[in-house]
Symmetry: C2
Subunit: 123 residues, 2 copies
DNA sequence: CTAATATATGAATGATTGCTCAGGTATTTG
DNA sequence: CAAATACCTGAGCAATCATTCATATATTAG
């Protein structure tokens, strides 16, 4: 019984897995859990319309928290929470000028992701 | 009082928005709600480690539902739900051969998104 | 036709997530 | 120094989501 793969559910796909070698190869090529998790959280940061609108706005140049709150029509507190999340994943960075913090996209990857994602969504 | 922007919260950022013209420009360049929503859902489909592992596995070639369930160690039902979501956003496509459905990435955009995202997550 | 296999799907449920509220920190002004 | 402004953050609540369970559909075998 060396071909079998354990499945979790009660409606498991019989006893056999159809392509054992293909599954094994996928296992070898798989990313480690920590990387997978960070990648998932990165995409997750872009999975909300409000946050996405925020990031797209920043792709047009830097903005302060007040500007973003006004633009998104949400409270500065909400914006700040979202910015913290984006910051945590290095999607945006900030620069202080007096009391004002100006946010912008962290690097070109971010604009690239937006472009590619949009190209796919529109096709 | 033509410079003011309404904000939603009670701790609203004073009465004034700092860069009115910048906010106005962002408004002009903004995507329409439906597009934004679809884009958000597209990224959302990639925001779960299990689904991400699934999609990355498919980037190495097509796999059937059974294979994926075995590889991910979740029930075929759970995989099927996830595949439906990915299918709905045209991230994966399927081809039937007898009773077996083989899934693969829908187009190059998808692999591109994974690559770009990974490059960012690893930097 | 009936039985078996592979996959799909609706409903229910526990876990995440977005927002608000109520504070707290950092910077400038007087 | 104290007051004001811009922003941050922890806790709590409502909505969303991933999974399970039960059932339904599609294809092949007999």
């Amino acid at each position: 019984m060396e071909n079998q793969q354990e499945t979790a559910g009660p409606d498991l796909c019989g006893v056999r897995c159809i392509h054992t070698e293909r599954v094994a190869r996928a296992g070898e090529e798989a990313l480690e859990a920590a990387t997978l998790d960070r990648l998932a959280r990165t995409f997750g940061a872009l999975s909300d319309p409000t946050r996405l609108k925020l990031v797209m706005a920043l792709s047009g140049g830097e903005m302060c928290v007040c500007d973003l709150a006004a633009f998104l029509k949400v409270s500065p507190s909400a914006v700040s929470h979202q910015l913290a999340r984006l910051r945590d994943l290095c999607l945006v960075k900030r620069r202080r000028q007096g009391q004002v913090l100006y946010y912008s996209l962290d690097d070109e990857h971010v604009a690239g992701l937006l472009e590619l994602g949009l190209a796919h969504a529109l096709e």
